[in-house]
Amino acid sequence: MSQAVDSAGTADGESRRDFLLYATGAVGAVGTALAVWPFIDSMNPAKDVLALATVEVDLSPVAVGQAITVVWRGKPVFVRHRTPEDIEQAKAVDVSTLRDPETDEERTIKPEWLVMVGICTHLGCVPKGQKPSDPKGEWNGWFCVCHGSQYDTAGRIRKGPAPLNLPVPEYAFLDDTTIRIGEEG
């Protein structure tokens, strides 16, 4: 015991003490940081939430001219089986005149199927236009009753306060009549 007391005062003892201080401090700090991670990560989407991050939709029952609304990540997704007139109308527009210029090709994978998130880019209302009886606006697309934004047959903003087109989600055709929304093919 008495030898140990003597060595504590020497330079050797000092450097040993410094080493222990830094080593213990570093290991302790790393450990605390790592221990925090599981708690933070627990607040990320859980596995069952992620499992529903993609949705498969069977399009075969949707006739030409009809539209369906599916729920994806808690939001409505509009799927419209467009008529040849719809498509023609969408393609005929001079893109440079649009508020949010996008061609119809940029917004569709197959021209007869338009898939987009049905949330008005103004303040988040769900526009009308899915049901045959709904108002569709001047461009025969969608009409947001909240503040009067109007979208054309490609879901592009044409009139009203909304700044952007209705967003197209990532999706892919699994076969001719099935799409998976939520990830690219």
Partner: protein, 268 residues
């Protein structure tokens, strides 16, 4: 030095307390009858884990035998990807089950093939039907069974193989009036011995897709492992993280001890 010995006593005392509690818990639950069979499970011990091929065989036993009466609550078809089925295989498995859905646009409930995102289908529409079909007893959920019984996997395995055609001597010695109620079977390991579930596992009642021999023991091993996984799907992650954590804490505590000794030299 004396502080160290005191610390050791403290640790022993804590361990003694905890072991006492555990041992008494186990004692309280064991009835008369033979001891539980204790196979050498792959998931035992600090380094234990699951054998995926065995878990898939276990799923074959569940879906071939248990499924018709027992649910697997809180589990989804997608979970089967964790035991080595591909996404397409899981889709196929799910589609072979019908699940209720609805109401549709006409307000009607309907059934449709399940998707991987669906919970594993319930065998009965509700508990009343389950009771009716099983002599007044609802077949219990199996997804937490390995956690919900003392003895865990050992108990399930022993129970599955623990049937007897006649009431054995030791039971009659303990209780001369013992008789099996109608519709019940004798099981060595079931509390009270009179179990509603008849023996299920007989050699050759199913064929394994990997060609293993479907003996009763093999099926019991496989389905028990599967149920252990169903109850503790986190087991492999848990033990791996535990090994790193313990290693880390031992290093940190060692450093703390060395540093503490170094500092306390000044005080002696």
């Amino acid at each position: 030095m004396s502080t160290l010995t005191r610390l050791a006593t403290a640790a022993m005392m804590a361990a003694g307390l905890s072991l006492g509690a555990g041992a008494t818990g186990a004692l309280a639950s064991s009835g008369d009858g033979p001891h539980l069979k204790q196979p050498n499970w792959s998931f035992n011990g600090l380094f234990g884990g699951y054998d995926e091929a065995q878990l898939r065989r276990g799923w074959e036993v569940y879906s071939g035998v248990c499924k018709s009466c027992h649910p697997l609550d809180y589990m989804h078809y997608r979970n089967l990807e964790q035991i080595g089925y591909t996404a397409d295989e899981v889709k196929e498995i799910a589609a072979s089950f019908d699940v209720p859905d609805g109401p549709d646009e006409w307000g009607e409930m309907y059934t449709r093939p399940a998707t991987p995102m669906d919970p594993i289908a319930h065998p009965y529409e509700n508990d009343a039907i389950a009771k009716l079909a099983n002599g007044g007893v609802v077949p219990p959920n199996l997804s937490v069974m390995a956690r919900a019984r003392d003895g865990g996997a050992d108990y399930i395995y022993s129970l599955l193989l623990g049937y007897a055609d006649e009431v054995p001597e030791y039971v009659l010695e303990a209780d001369p009036n013992f008789s099996l109620p109608p519709g019940k079977s004798f099981n060595h390991y079931f509390p009270g011995h009179a179990i509603s579930m008849p023996q299920q596992l007989f050699e050759g009642i199913l064929e394994y897709s990997d060609g293993s021999t479907p003996s009763a023991e093999q099926m019991a091993l496989d389905v028990t492992s599967f149920l252990q996984w169903a109850a503790e799907p986190e087991l492999e992650d848990r033990k791996a993280l535990g090994r790193y954590t313990l290693l880390f804490l031992i290093v940190l505590t060692g450093l703390l001890y060395a540093y503490k000794r170094e500092i306390w030299k000044d005080a002696h």
